[in-house]
């Protein structure tokens, strides 16, 4: 069976530090997991999460800082609102709201991050591929 496509959208600060440290410590991560690093989860909007599903992601995980750790202020709160709304949209679309999750980490929690990724992989593999597989749009930037 073809492995599912997993996408992580990762804040540059605490979660990326964890991800980096996990890589340095050679902790094994799901091979079908791809990461997009952004400066802050507050920069991500509903469109970008939906776009991931449109382009063929089977599951999306938002890796955030803890609410009180945000370097900019309201980043994780913005993330919670977006995740809440996009989950509702995914449910309406019949893609399933479980395919979008968010997890938060402090900068030393590399084991937690890797565990969360494996758990995410397990969850999405159990759900199988995303039922919506449209053609990609021919957008040019």
């Amino acid at each position: 069976m073809k492995p599912v496509n997993l996408l992580g959208i990762c804040c540059n600060w605490s979660p990326y530090a964890c991800y980096n440290a996990a890589g340095m410590a050679r902790l094994k991560m799901p091979p079908n997991f791809r990461l997009v690093r952004v400066m802050c989860i507050g920069r991500i909007n509903q469109a970008l999460i939906l776009r991931a599903f449109e382009y063929g992601a089977d599951g999306v995980i938002l890796l955030e800082c803890k609410d009180e750790d945000c370097r900019y202020g309201p980043g994780p709160e913005v993330g919670h609102v977006n995740v809440q709304r996009v989950r509702k949209l995914l449910r309406l679309l019949g893609i399933g709201q479980q395919r979008l999750i968010e997890r938060h980490f402090a900068s030393h929690e590399k084991e937690e991050l890797v565990r969360a990724l494996w758990k995410f992989d397990e969850l999405i593999t159990a759900l199988g591929p995303n039922p919506a597989k449209p053609r990609q749009e021919q957008e040019v930037s």
Binding site: Q46, L89, P131
Partner: protein, 389 residues
């Protein structure tokens, strides 16, 4: 002459652009130009005809238009400018890719494209409650459109577009009709078509047709003017065997009202009406909403300064090009509505409702633009009753 040039020539001939007198009425009436944007339909027409080598200008202008149809309405030569823009966008999307700034980073177009997947099992009917009676299949269906999605996406501005759908179904129920609501109906594709994505639009049309056929539908009642326009004008072009009757809810209601038996309860409000561009200028229904509103006793109806054929756009169509100029158009429109001293703004399109509500909630305006906004179907559904005799 290249194939691309020939296609442009065909578009020019089809939309009678060669009849252009360069009088400039289009530019003088363009809401975008009036809001201060450097955008000129007249210059664009000139460049498409005579200076086609200025590709950068043509491309930029093509994606800037709101397609509200004001210019086409004023044009003495009958140039259909909105459809010229539509055809040019489709052509340019095919050769140079989709461009233009899609509002909300294209999230709405994204879910519309997600709906082109054939195996989707949507859960769009969760809003149904005891206030409405509906069926799963039947000869007459009601097309709900994107309302369940809008309400989630725009929950930040607290807009209730599902109320339009619910009240439309209540109106149908009142007339003794129990419509079928299809669980897997797709978006009508209006926004994809008008932003140049013809291919996905056609996929949506075919999927919708199959859904209708599978549920045994012979007639579709629509309340959203955009959906009505797409289903009645474009679906037959895409699906040659299209044999489903498409009815606009307010026209159905008007016909039923003429038979007698139904009346409206009095409403002591001062009301004004925002003509949606797709209902008015594109589908030509100016009188139906007004004649229905005039049947409500004790209601004061006042027209805005620009109404009917010259009604101003709600600032955005097809969720493309929302910017500061759109905002200015919306603010001016709400000032016009306020100037009528009306306390209820009635519109007939969920998009007008979303865009005008967004402007009313503008924090910088401190609520000075706020007024109650409701859909025509909601106003009518609340007032309808059986006539005494």
């Amino acid at each position: 002459m290249s194939e691309y040039e020939q296609k442009i020539d065909k578009i020019i001939r089809d939309q009678s652009l060669y009849q252009c007198l360069e009088c400039g009425k289009c530019s003088a009436s363009c809401p975008r130009q009036l809001a201060g944007k450097e955008y000129s339909p007249r210059l664009l027409a000139h460049k498409i005809i005579a200076e086609r080598e200025d590709e950068a200008f043509i491309e930029n202008s093509i994606w800037e238009c709101l397609t509200c149809g004001q210019c086409g309405e004023r044009c003495p030569s009958g140039v259909d400018f909105s459809h010229l823009i539509l055809e040019m966008r489709t052509l340019l999307a095919g050769t140079k890719g989709l461009k233009g700034y899609r509002s909300h980073d294209g999230a709405l177009h994204s879910w519309m494209r997600l709906m082109t997947s054939p195996n989707l099992q949507q859960e769009r009917l969760g809003w149904i409650d005891t206030r409405v009676r509906v069926a799963a299949y039947g000869k007459l269906a009601f097309f709900t459109g994107c309302a369940p999605y809008f309400d989630v996406f725009f929950s930040g501005i607290r807009v209730d577009t599902l109320s339009i759908v619910r009240d439309s179904v209540r109106l149908l129920n009142f007339m003794g009709i129990v419509p079928a609501l299809l669980a897997n109906e797709r978006c009508c594709g209006h926004d994809l078509l008008w932003t140049g994505d013809r291919e996905n639009f056609e996929t949506l049309c075919r999927l919708n047709y199959h859904e209708f056929k599978a549920a045994g539908v012979e007639e579709v009642v629509v309340s959203c003017p955009e959906c009505f326009y797409m289903l009645s004008e474009y679906m037959p072009q895409v699906v040659p065997e299209f044999d489903i009757k498409v009815t606009l809810l307010i026209e159905l209601l008007e016909r039923e009202m003429k038979k007698g038996g139904m009346a409206f309860r009095p409403l002591k409000r001062k009301v004004t009406f925002q003509d949606p561009c797709r209902l008015g200028r594109i589908c030509g229904r100016y009188d139906t909403p007004r004649s229905l509103l005039s049947l409500i006793p004790e209601m004061g109806f006042r027209e805005m300064e620009n109404s009917g054929r010259s009604a101003v756009c709600c600032g955005n169509s097809g969720f493309i090009n929302c910017d500061a100029y759109s905002k200015r158009i919306q603010v001016q429109r709400l000032h016009e509505a306020k100037a009528t001293a009306a306390d209820l703004l009635v519109t007939a399109c969920p998009k007008c409702m979303i865009h005008l509500t967004c402007t009313m909630r503008d924090p910088i305006k401190h609520g000075s633009l706020a007024m109650e906004i409701r859909d025509l179907a909601s106003v009518l559904a609340d007032q309808i009753e059986w006539a005494a005799k």
